[in-house]
């Protein structure tokens, strides 16, 4: 039985997996592994790889506090114990050992690596290794496979036992793709390498045209010009008159307003880009932008330029609720009232719904409108 301890630097939030709270000044740490890349984050992709070696007991740890940070709905099936928290790495390892784990995979996930885990496990067993460490281009990677039997000596701390077998380690060399994800440039490079087929990272969605992928529920206006490669995440909306010149990647639930040009850029999920803008050579999220050419980050506190679609989703809902004969009758006046809402609360929506029913009652009957002479 294989158990795994996946450690993330600092307080990366597994269920967040987005860049909404990101500011250019913030220390990225290993947060990038929880940001989506072409529809799925590096962490989830790694977790799916763990399935290939039938790893049953998996614990997530935050390096800074040594506590469990995971076990969200997406990852509960991987969790050893949903509500358990560990005060230290040793405690988590001890728990796995007590559950009868025979081989322990220890991973510090801060980079994107394409290690064949099945091959790694086979190598580990075939060489009867006590500890196998992964190496990429002769550089050690924070990924080791340990025989649990070597860690069961009583009276000696796990760290000490681990330190004792490190000199006996075997090196597992791999030559596939690796990306350090040390910053936003590396992150963007991962997108480019995925588009160019230099790594095995594949977009989540269907290829709707050569070099153009789209997730579920994507809405692209017929008056949009797209040059691939391009990726449109789930429920992304591209409005009329936009020009998309690839490589461009838009993660889930982005919205590009009318007439905006996107060129060589990547948008994090829930990013709203205002109308008539020109975004190029950039990595952007709600309220921030990193220019890959000038290597500068910019905070944009204007939701009409670069905002979050969270606030706009409710507005769209309100608009769709009001898309009735009332809207046609009231024309732009009514729409200008709705458009002025920034973050419509439930109360505001209710008010508009009441207004809608009021207008409906004030309107003549459907039959009368179609044929007034009747």
């Amino acid at each position: 039985m294989i158990g795994a301890i996946v450690t993330l630097e600092e307080d990366s939030h597994l269920e967040n997996g987005d860049a909404i709270s990101f500011t250019p000044e913030a220390n990225l740490g290993s947060k990038l592994v929880t940001w989506n890349v072409l529809g799925e984050n590096v962490l989830n992709r790694f977790l799916r790889k763990l399935e290939t070696i039938s790893a049953k007991n998996i614990v997530f740890l935050s390096e800074s506090s040594g506590r469990v940070v995971g076990n969200s709905a997406n990852h509960s099936r991987y969790a050893a114990d949903g509500d358990e928290s560990y005060s230290s790495w040793e405690e988590a390892a001890q728990t796995l050992l007590s559950q009868g784990v025979q081989t322990l995979l220890l991973v510090k996930l801060a980079t994107y690596i394409e290690v064949d885990l099945v091959d790694l496990v086979q190598f580990h067993h075939a060489t009867s290794s006590k500890l196998t460490q992964v190496f990429f281009e002769n550089q050690p990677i924070s990924m080791v496979l340990v025989q649990a039997s070597e860690l069961r000596t009583k009276g000696i701390s796990l760290r000490r036992q681990l330190a004792n077998i490190i000199p006996l380690r075997r090196r597992y060399q791999y030559k596939e793709y690796s990306n350090p994800l040390a910053g936003l440039d590396d992150f963007q490079q991962l997108y480019m390498d995925a588009f160019n087929g230099e790594c095995s990272l594949t977009p989540v969605g269907d290829e709707i045209a050569p070099g153009v992928w789209a997730g579920e529920g994507v809405s692209i206006d017929p008056l949009v010009t797209i040059t691939g490669p391009a990726y449109f995440g789930t429920r992304t909306i591209i409005n009329a008159g936009c020009v998309i010149s690839g490589p461009v990647a838009l993660e889930q639930e982005c919205e590009i307003d009318c007439g905006t040009t996107l060129e060589d850029c990547t948008l994090m999920r829930n990013t709203y880009v205002g109308p008539g803008l020109n975004l190029k050579n950039a990595l952007a999220g709600p309220g921030w932008l990193y220019n890959l050419e000038r290597l500068v980050a910019l905070t944009i506190n204007d939701s009409k330029l670069l905002g979050s679609t969270y606030s706009n989703n409710l507005l769209s809902r309100a608009k769709s609720l009001l898309s009735s004969p009332v809207q046609r009758r009231m024309g732009s006046t009514f729409f200008s009232q709705t458009a002025s809402l920034h973050i419509p609360s439930r109360a505001v929506l209710d008010r508009h719904l009441k207004a809608e029913s009021h207008f409906k009652s004030a309107l003549p009957q459907e039959d009368n409108r179609e044929n007034p002479s009747r």
Partner: protein
């Protein structure tokens, strides 16, 4: 007059900027150079103010030039498609703060040539 724009060129700082430009505009020599070298953050209100005063100063036969465009400001202007507009007002690196409008320079050159011809 050179106006060094603040690090955060946002709605809060536009009042001060407006006062500075207004003071220069009403002076005898309304030639203004806006120095963007320290700008780290910009917003649309500040952009609107600058564009409005570019227009007003031009109406009073003055000039506004921009210089020292920081990477952040350049990125913001590119995003809003205003980079091409500001490029027209870009100051030469070694030029003096006060720069004549192109039309004026052209007129002077012609009249000098005419004078030379008439002198000959």
């Amino acid at each position: 007059m050179i106006i060094k724009l603040p690090e955060h060129l946002t709605e809060a700082s536009t009042r001060n900027l407006r006062e500075q430009i207004e003071f220069t505009r009403t002076s005898k020599c309304p030639n203004i150079v806006l120095d963007f070298s320290e700008v780290q953050e910009m917003d649309t209100t500040a952009l609107e103010t600058i564009l409005r005063y570019m227009d007003r100063v031009a109406q009073h036969a003055g000039t506004i030039r921009v210089t020292g465009m920081s990477a952040q400001a350049a990125t913001f202007l590119e995003l809003t498609r205003m980079d091409s507009v500001f490029a027209m007002y870009e100051e030469c690196p070694n030029a003096m703060p006060a720069v004549a409008v192109p039309e004026f320079t052209q007129t002077t050159a012609v009249s000098r040539a005419e004078m030379q011809v008439s002198a000959a």
